[in-house]
Amino acid sequence: MIKSDAMVKRFAVSVREQKGDTIRKVKLVDHYIDELKGQLKILSKVRRKELK
C-alpha cells in the first residue's frame, strides 16, 4: 500500500526546500508523525478487538 521510501524521500526534499527555519520544518514533520500515530492508535484498537 505504501511506497514509503521513495515517497518519504520526495517529501523530505520538499520539506528541506521549504522557506523558513529548521523549527518550522521540524514542526511540519511532527504534524505528519502525529497524524500517522493517530491512525496507528485506531488500528491497534481494531486489532485488539479482532483478536478477542
Partner: protein
C-alpha cells in the same frame, strides 16, 4: 505531484483503509493480515519521518560549519537536537521491535558522535551500521548500498582519531569503490544525486580533516581531489526522485569554502 500533497494523499489513503478495516471487523484471518501489513507500513513511515528530523538538524549543523565564522552555540544546539531526534527514533524502533531500522539508527548515532568529536564511538556505530545495513528498508526495497556511505564516514572518523595515513588510504579506497563497484555504479545509474552527494562527501570530509589536523603537507593532494570531485556535481541534473533539477548548491559551496581556506 507536490510531495506534501503526495503524503497528504497517502495519509488519506491510510484513513480510508482504516475505515474499511473497521467495517470489515470480525472477518477473520485475512483482515488480521491486512491490518498487520498496514500497521507495519505506518510504523516504517513514522521511523522515516523521525529520522528526517535528525537530518533537518544535521543540515543546520552543516550550514553553520559552512560559514566563515560558525556560531558555536547554534552549532552545539543543533548537534544536541540531532541527538534528541535520533534517540526518539531509536526508542520507537526498540519499542516496536523494528530491527530493520537498526542500521540507520547506528548511522545517525555515528554522525552525532562525529560532530561531538567522539570518533571512537562514531567508528563503533558505523561498524554496527555496516553490519546490518542489508536489512535496511532502503536496501530491501530500493537496493540502495548504504554501506558505501557508512564506509566513507568511517574513513573520516579514523582520520580524525589521528590515524591520518590510514584514514586517507581508506578514503581513497572508498572513493575508488564509488567509481568501480557494481552496487555503486547501479546507484549512479538509478539515482545520480544520491551517488554524487555521497562520493563528493569523501574528499570534503578528508579536506576538513586535513584543515583541522593542520596537515599542510597534503595541501596539493587535497586541492586536486576537491577539484576532481567538483566536476561530478558541476552540471545540475534532473531527477524525479529529488523533484526537478538538483544543482548540488550546498556541496559546491562546501568545496569552494574549503578551497578558499586551504589556498
Amino acid at each position: 505531484m507536490n510531495p506534501m500533497m503526495d503524503l497528504d494523499l497517502q495519509i488519506a489513503g491510510i484513513k480510508k483503509t482504516v475505515t474499511s478495516i473497521r467495517e470489515k471487523r470480525g472477518k477473520s484471518e485475512s483482515t488480521l493480515k491486512v491490518l498487520d501489513n498496514v500497521i507495519k507500513n505506518i510504523q516504517d513511515l513514522i521511523v522515516s519521518l523521525l529520522l528526517e528530523k535528525h537530518l533537518l538538524y544535521q543540515h543546520q549543523v552543516m550550514e553553520e560549519l559552512a560559514k566563515n565564522k560558525p556560531d558555536a552555540k547554534k552549532k552545539e544546539a543543533a548537534i544536541h537536537n540531532m541527538y534528541i531526534a535520533t534517540i526518539a527514533a531509536e526508542k520507537y524502533v526498540r519499542t516496536h521491535k523494528l530491527t530493520q531500522w537498526d542500521s540507520r539508527i547506528n548511522r545517525c548515532l555515528g554522525r552525532v558522535a562525529d560532530y561531538k568529536g567522539e570518533y571512537m564511538k562514531a567508528i563503533k556505530y558505523y561498524k554496527l551500521a555496516i553490519k546490518t545495513c542489508r536489512k535496511d528498508p532502503e536496501y530491501t526495497v530500493d537496493k540502495t548500498p548504504r554501506w558505501l556511505e557508512y564506509e566513507a564516514y568511517l574513513a573520516y572518523s579514523v582520520m580524525m582519531l589521528g590515524e591520518v595515513d590510514k584514514g586517507m588510504m581508506l578514503s581513497r579506497k572508498i572513493y575508488r569503490k564509488f567509481l568501480t563497484d557494481k552496487h555503486a555504479l547501479d546507484l549512479k545509474k538509478r539515482d545520480y544525486p544520491t551517488w554524487a552527494i555521497w562520493i563528493t562527501g569523501i574528499p570534503i570530509r578528508a579536506a576538513r580533516a586535513v584543515v583541522e589536523l593542520e596537515q599542510k603537507g597534503r595541501k596539493q593532494e587535497i586541492v586536486g581531489w576537491l577539484n576532481e570531485a567538483y566536476k561530478l556535481i558541476e552540471t545540475p541534473i534532473g531527477s524525479n526522485k529529488w523533484i526537478g533539477k538538483v544543482d548540488f548548491g550546498f556541496r559546491k559551496q562546501e568545496i569552494n569554502n574549503l578551497l578558499a581556506i586551504i589556498n
